[in-house]
């Protein structure tokens, strides 16, 4: 026995190194595993390196861009001042509408599902495998980030936290094939499902009936029905909508509202389940 093991030591070791991960993969499939102590150590070692590199590269890029931006700065400033004046007018009108909305909600006994302050995080890397489209951010469980929290920018939805370790976390991007969001057409309130197409650029629109009201250019927002994203966040714009000759559902793609390849900062919404708040009984209608 010992002679056999000694003679075939190398093929046996290589065979074990092949078989153990293969069996793990085939039995656990696509679920992945929770990070163990060693995984956590690896991630804790890598995130400071990435933080420093990101800081350095962005510093260099900002310095270079600063010199370039000085050209035409005077004209830009005048244009910005004019635009700011218009925006202030719009903001004032929106504040009025907000105050009115709050008064009406109070009258209707509506309880708003507001959440705590968002956590601001800097993007420090994209994961090195193109099979899973995710990115690394510089805020983790030490800062209160938890698995399942939605990640957004002011432009729209980015994805969802799938792993939080120490002072970093991984965010599954909208464009990953494993990502699924309940969506609703902002104009017609038609519901559907938005999934990642896997190419990093677009999303697939599913489960929208062919007779439903949806046209190219319609804004798709979160429906709040998936238990992850609060409702009303912009997902993207519908494109290439087609109604095939056969089948129940129309086909189309959604162009994400956020350019996921150029993200620098994101906001993490500190809720793990955006379930609707049940109104108090005395105020319920």
């Amino acid at each position: 026995m010992f002679k056999f093991l000694s003679r075939f030591r190398e093929p046996l070791i290589v065979g074990a190194l092949l078989l153990v991960p293969l069996l793990t993969y085939l039995t656990k499939g696509h679920r992945g595993r929770e990070p163990n102590t060693f995984d956590r150590l690896v991630l804790r070692l890598s995130s400071p390196v990435q933080g420093v590199l990101t800081w350095g590269l962005e510093g260099v890029a900002a310095s270079a861009a600063g010199y370039v931006a000085l050209r035409g700065a005077h004209e830009d400033a005048a244009s910005c001042r004019s635009e700011l004046a218009h925006k202030n007018e719009e903001l004032n009108a929106l504040n009025e509408a907000k105050a009115e909305n709050a008064r009406l909600k109070t009258m209707l006994g509506y309880v708003d599902g507001t959440h705590d302050q968002e956590i601001v995080a800097r993007v420090i890397g994209l994961n090195p495998s193109s099979q899973y489209l995710s990115m690394r951010i510089d805020r983790g469980e030490d800062q209160g980030v938890r698995v399942g929290m939605p990640v957004v920018t002011p432009d729209g939805v980015v994805g969802q936290v799938v792993r939080a370790v120490g002072s970093s976390a991984d965010v599954l991007l909208l464009t990953d094939p494993a990502s699924r969001i309940g969506g609703v057409v902002q104009r017609s309130r038609v519901r559907g499902s938005v999934t990642g197409a896997g190419d990093g650029r677009k999303l697939a629109l599913n489960l929208v009936r062919r007779e439903d009201d949806l046209v190219d250019g319609d804004a798709i927002v979160t429906a709040g029905s998936d238990g992850v994203f609060p409702r009303g966040l912009l997902v993207g714009t519908a494109k290439s909508i087609a109604r095939p000759a056969v089948g129940m559902f129309l086909t189309g793609v959604v162009v994400p509202a956020v350019d996921l390849s150029r993200l620098e900062e994101v906001l993490i919404i500190p809720v793990t389940m955006a379930a609707p708040v049940v109104p108090a009984k005395d105020g319920a209608r």
Binding site: L22, Y25, H30, R31, R33, P35, I124, S129, D170, G198
Partner: protein, 166 residues
Amino acid sequence: MKFLGFSALALLLLSVEEVLVKTFSFEVTRIDVGLAIVVYVATRGTTIEGALSAFSVGYLLDVFTSKPTGLYPFLAVLTFVLVRLVAQVVDGRSRASYGLLVAGATAGHAVLAMFFTWLTSSDEVHVLSLSGVPLQTFLTTAAGVALWPLFRKIEPGERPDPGVLS
């Protein structure tokens, strides 16, 4: 314990790769520096050291993917064995031939990763992730050739034993 040296280098290179891929705004294209290490140890290392290094690189890649499933350690060791097999007919120890082996391994690794992901997933859309492979192959080969002198510092020797797994 050269595999520890390669593991530490892989950890550093993967950390840098994540930042560079983000900086260059790549969508599905990656720079597979880990694979460059696997090919190097397959052409120059001993069987045990090489297989352990390949496994270790694959494990690190698996952890960095945010969804560790065991796929990448398996693919890294499989790539190690396949490169070893090819190296029976093609001498991959010079810098140029090493570059060619890295290019072949990168393309093969991407196709195998897509195949195994498709095998355990109901989605058919993973094929789209292959759109970045040509650029990925070029970038990985360039990175591998550029890092070759560094790899030689860790494993300067010629592969002492002939055969695939002996």
